[in-house]
Point group: C3
C-alpha cells in the first residue's frame, strides 16, 4: 500500500516537473547534509523522498533565486500535486482574509526585501493580496515577522502546519500543531479545548473517544477548516443566506456522536451567549463614541499619531488599534479582541471557565472600568480640563455642546441628514423656548 502510494507520487511528480529536476536531491544533499542537517533528515524520512520527489521539485533549480528568497515554496507549489487540499484550504478562512495580517505597503526601503515574498510574485509589483490590517502597519519589520507572519503566513504556506520538509501526518493530526497559532489572549481555542470535556477525554481515552481539533474542524480530512462555522473567526461575516446551510453542516459533524436535539440546543446556547456578549461590547463602544462626540477622549484622535489607514479619526471596528489611543479605547480593545473572543469561543467549545471567568466576567469588569473612566472624563470636561481641541466649544454652555456633539455624530455618518435636521431643530426650539440666545 505504502509502496503503491510512493509509486503514484513518483509518477505524478515526474509528470509535473520539467526534465532534469527529479535528480536534484543527489546534487543538493552533499552540501546540505552539512548546511541544513535537519531539513535533509526530515526529507529523507518523508514520503517525498520515498516517492523520489527531490529538492528541485519544490525549490526549483535556480540556486541564486533560492538564496535570495525569490523561489518561495508556497501553497501554489504544494498545490501542483496536492490540488484538492489546496482548493479546500483556499475556501477556508485559512486561505482567505488572512492577508489582512500582512503589511507590504509599509515603508519599503527600510524593509528586508525577502519579506515581499509573502505578498508578491517574483518580478511583480502588484500585491497579491490587499493590505488591510492597521495593527500590522504599526509594527516594526521584525515584530511583523516574529509576531504576525509566523501565523498569518498560513494563507500561502502549507509548512505552517505541516512543517517544511516533513510529510508525517502525526504532526498535523496533533492538536498542538493548531495550538502554535490558535492560543493566547485573542483566541485560546487550544487551551479551552484542552480542558473541555472533549479535550480531557482525548487525553484519557484517545482521539476515538475525545475528539480533537481536526475531528470537528477538518471533518474527513478536509482542509476547509471553517466548515460549519456561522461566526467567522475574523474579517467580514458570512452572508446571511449562507448561515442555515453552514449550521446544518456543523450539526452533521456534531451528530456523529451527539443527539440532534442536544447538538442544536448547545449551538443555540452558543449563539445566545454570542448575541449577549456583543451587546456588552456595543454598550461600551457607544460610551467611547459619545465621549469622542463631546471631545472628551484623552487624548482625542487629533492629538495623537494618525491611524495608519484612516488618519485622525476614532476607529473602533476591526481596524481598531491598541497603541497610541486613549485608555478607554484600549479597554474597549481588550473587551472586543480578548474578552468577547474568549466568551463566545468558550461557549461553542463548552469550556465553562473560558465562557464565564476568562470571558463573561472580564467583559463585565472591563465595562465597569469603562464606565468609571467615562465618569472621570465627563467630570474632567466639566472642569474645563478636556482636550485642547474642545476650546472651539465655549465652555459652560451646555446648549452649544449638545449641538456640537450632534454635528459630530452626523459628520461620522451615525445619523442621516434628515435625522440631523430634525434633532437640531428640536434642540434649537428647546433653547429658544428657554429664552437662550444661540450664535
Amino acid at each position: 500500500m505504502k509502496t503503491l502510494f510512493h509509486l503514484t507520487l513518483a509518477v505524478v511528480a515526474a509528470a509535473l516537473l520539467p526534465l532534469g529536476q527529479s535528480l536534484a536531491a543527489e546534487d543538493c544533499l552533499p552540501c546540505h547534509r552539512e548546511k541544513t542537517p535537519a531539513a535533509v533528515r526530515q526529507w529523507e524520512e518523508s514520503a517525498h523522498a520515498g516517492a523520489r520527489v527531490g529538492c528541485a521539485a519544490c525549490h526549483g533549480v535556480d540556486h541564486k533565486a533560492i538564496e535570495a528568497g525569490e523561489a518561495p515554496v508556497d501553497a501554489d507549489v504544494c498545490g501542483k500535486c496536492h490540488r484538492k487540499a489546496l482548493l479546500e484550504h483556499r475556501t477556508s478562512r485559512h486561505g482567505m482574509g488572512l492577508h489582512a495580517g500582512w503589511g507590504c505597503t509599509r515603508n519599503l526601503p527600510e524593509r528586508d526585501p525577502a519579506e515581499c515574498r509573502f505578498c508578491h510574485r517574483k518580478g511583480s509589483e502588484e500585491p497579491v493580496s490587499q493590505v488591510q490590517c492597521a495593527r500590522f502597519l504599526k509594527q516594526s519589520s521584525e515584530m511583523g515577522e516574529l509576531g504576525c507572519n509566523r501565523c498569518h503566513q498560513v494563507e500561502n504556506n502549507c509548512g505552517s502546519c505541516h512543517g517544511n520538509h516533513f510529510t508525517d501526518l502525526a504532526i498535523v493530526r496533533d492538536p498542538a500543531s493548531c495550538a502554535k497559532c490558535h492560543m493566547g489572549p485573542d483566541h485560546p481555542q487550544w487551551e479551552m479545548w484542552q480542558t473541555s470535556q472533549h479535550g480531557t477525554l482525548n487525553g484519557s481515552m484517545g482521539p476515538a473517544v475525545g475528539p480533537d481539533c481536526q475531528r470537528c474542524h477538518m471533518p474527513e480530512g478536509s482542509h476547509d477548516v471553517s466548515k460549519g462555522l456561522t461566526a467567522p473567526p475574523s474579517g467580514k461575516p458570512y452572508p446571511e443566506e449562507e448561515l442555515p446551510g453552514r449550521r446544518a453542516e456543523m450539526l452533521r459533524i456534531c451528530t456523529g456522536c451527539h443527539a440532534p436535539a442536544f447538538a442544536r440546543q448547545e449551538l443555540a446556547r452558543g449563539d445566545a451567549v454570542r448575541a449577549q456578549s456583543l451587546a456588552l461590547v456595543r454598550e461600551a463602544e457607544a460610551i467611547v463614541w459619545d465621549l469622542a462626540d463631546h471631545g472628551l477622549l484623552d487624548p482625542m484622535p487629533e492629538e495623537r499619531p494618525p491611524h495608519p489607514l484612516r488618519g485622525e479619526v476614532l476607529v473602533t471596528d476591526g481596524q481598531m488599534l491598541y497603541e497610541d489611543t486613549s485608555r478607554i479605547e484600549r479597554l474597549l480593545f481588550k473587551m472586543k479582541k480578548f474578552d468577547f473572543a474568549k466568551t463566545i469561543k468558550g461557549a461553542y467549545h463548552q469550556n465553562p471557565a473560558y465562557t464565564h471567568w476568562y470571558g463573561n466576567a472580564e467583559l463585565k469588569m472591563d465595562l465597569v472600568d469603562i464606565r468609571a473612566e467615562a465618569s472621570r472624563l465627563r467630570e474632567r470636561g466639566e472642569g474645563g480640563k478636556a482636550s485642547e481641541k474642545k476650546v472651539a466649544i465655549p465652555r459652560g454652555k451646555k446648549d452649544e455642546e449638545a449641538l456640537e456633539a450632534l454635528k459630530r455624530k452626523f459628520e461620522r455618518g451615525a445619523i442621516s441628514p434628515e435625522e440631523y435636521a430634525r434633532r437640531k431643530a428640536l434642540l434649537l426650539d428647546a433653547f429658544l423656548g428657554e429664552g437662550k440666545a444661540l450664535p
Copy 2:
C-alpha cells in the same frame, strides 16, 4: 475477576430494578445507535453493559418524560447502586454548598423548563436547594448553563466527572477530569499542580512517584474530595473544633510519602500565607467601606442596579458582584476571588509562581491600584464631584461629614450603639469646642 464483577453487578441491578426494565437496552438500541451513536458506543463498552444494566435501569421507561428532561439521571439514580460513593460525595464540598451556584428563582417564564431539573424533583415546586449565588442571578439562562451549571451541577450529577455513559476509571483517574472545572482565574488547581514538584514528577515518573489530584484528595478512592481540608474551597468555614481533626487527616495523607515534621511545616507555611493574604484583602475591603461610608464610591449602591439578593447596599462578602459596581469594588473582587485564591492554593500546592507572581504580587499590585483609586475618589469628594446622593451632606463642612460617616458605620452594624454614642459625643465636643454650630 472482571467476569465476577460483572456478574455481581448484574445480580445487584436485577434485584434493584422493577421487572421489565432489565430488557430495555435491546428496545432502545435500534433507534439510538442512529440518534445518539456515541452514547450507545460508550454504554456498549461499559461495565454496565457487561453486567446487563440497560438503558431503563437509569433512564426509566417513560420515553416522553425522558424527552421532556423530566427523568434526569442524577446522583440519586447512580446512588441506588453506588451507595458508598454517593454518601462520601454528599459529605464533601462537591455534594454540599455547590447549589450556591444555581438560580432556580430567576424569572421562570423566560427560562427553559428543562433547567428546573437542577433543583426540583418532578412535580414539586419546592426547590431542593436554596438559591444563594447573587452572581448566578445576574446571568442569562444560557450563560448560567454554559458558564455556571456545567461545573456546579456536580452536586447532583456523577456524569460531571465520570461522563454520562462511560464506566472506564481511566477517565476519572486522569487529573484532566478535575481540570474541566478546577482551572482558570478563580481556582487554577490543575495548572498549579501541573507545574509543581508533584505534577512534574507525575509527568516524568508516573503517578506512583508524582501524586495526582486523586491520590491526595480522594485517598483510597474516597469520593469525599474535601478530606483533610481546613480552608473550605467556598461557602461557610468549617467549625473551629473540626480543624485539628481535619488537619490530622491531611497529615496522614502527606506522611504517606513525607516526614511528619516536613509536612507539618509546609502546611503551617500555607496557613501563614493564608492569614497574611487575608490581611491584605481586609485592608482593601476597609478602604472600600470607608469610601462608601463617606458616599464616595462612583457609582454608590443607590445609583446602580440593586444587588439581586440585598438591594441598594454595598456587598463585599461571598455574594459580591463583579458587574454593575464601581471600579474600586471590582478591583477588590479580583483580589478576593482571583489573587487570594491563587496565593493560598498555590502555597498549599507548593507552586512558587502561583504563590508569588500570580498570587501575592497581584494582591499587592491591586492594593496599590485600590489605594490610588481611593485617593482619587477622596479628592473628587473634596472637589464636590462625589455622588449626587451626597448632596444631603452640606459640602465643605468636614464636621458634618464625619458625623454622617459615623452614622453609616453604625447603620451597617460595624460599631455597637454604645460605641456610636461615645464617638458621636467626642465629635460633637470637638466641634463645639472649636466654636462651630451644628444642626
Copy 3:
C-alpha cells in the same frame, strides 16, 4: 555498562567519604522506611543505592545537626563527586546572581533559623552571598520560602531539578522539570516553548525532532544553562566583549539543525525586538521620572514606606518594587518584569502569541495607561492636588517649578553639573527676559 558505572561510583564515594559513613544506610533505613517512606523508596531505586552511596555520604552522621537543619545537602556536597557538573553550574546564571533572591539580612529574630542554611555555612555569621533583592526583603518569611526560595535555592541545591533522592535522568530530561520555575508571568519559557514549533514537534515527533529545553540550553549535557545567551535572564549584563563569543556559541547550537543564515537572521530579529521593546520601557520610565521630578507621583516616595535598600527615593531599576508604590510605578513594573520578558523571550523562542499578544501588545497597552495616568497626575498637580511635599514649591509659579524639577534631575545624577549650570542659566535668562522676579 550500568554495573561499571555503579562500581565507579562506589569506588569514588568510598575514596571521598570518612570511614564508617558508607555503612550508614543500613543504620537509617529501619526508622526512615517508616518516617520518610518516599525518600527511602527513591534512594533504593537510585544509582546511589546501586553504588552503595548511603545516607551518611550526603547527610553526614550527626543526627542532631541533620534534624536542626544544620547539615544541608547543598551543591557542595553533591559537587564532591559530581565536580564537572558543579563547575558548569557555578559558571551559569543558575549558579551566580540568583542569591539576589535571598534575604538573610532580614529581621533575624523573627525568622526560622533553619532558613539561614541558604546563605550561611554552619557556625559562620558571614553571609556566603550578598543580599540584593529588595522584593525579597518585603516578604514574610513564609512567602520567602514558598514563593521565592523554592526556585532561587537552585544556586546551592541540585535537588531543585534532580529531586532530593532520585538519580533518574528521566526527571531532569523532562522539560517539565524546568517548568517548575521557568513559567508564569515573569518568564513563561515553558509555556512559550510548549506551543512553539520546537515544543509542538517535541510532542508529536519526540525529542529527536522537536528539541526540548535541555537540547538547546544544556548542550551535550552541560550544566551551564546560560551557554550562548547574550541577554542574561536577570542581574547585570554580560560584558560587551563577551557577546560575539556567546552568540557564536548559540549559533553552533542552532546550526545543529538549521542553516546558519536562517539561525543568524532569527537571532538578529530577536535582538531587534529586544531593542525596540526596551525603548518602550524607557519611554514609560522617563514619564515616571519626570512626574517624580515635578513631585507629582501619588504617593511620592517620601510619603510611603521606605524602599528597603534605598530609602525614600524613587527606584525603577532591578530593585523596583511592586508594592507600596504609586499606580503608575506598578504599571511600569508590569511592563518591565512581565511584558518585556514575554516579548523578548517569546521572540527568541519563536512563539508568535507570546512575542506579540502577551508581550508587545501588553507593553503598548500599558504605555497607553501610563500616559493616561501621567495626564491625570499632571492635571491634578495644576489643580493644586499633588503631593503635600510639593507645598514647598509655590503653586501656580511655572518658572520656579521648572527650576525645581531641573534641580531634582541634577540631584539624582541624570545631568552633569555643567549641564545643570547651563540649563539653569538658560531658564533664569528666560524668566528675567520676561521681567519676572526670582528668589
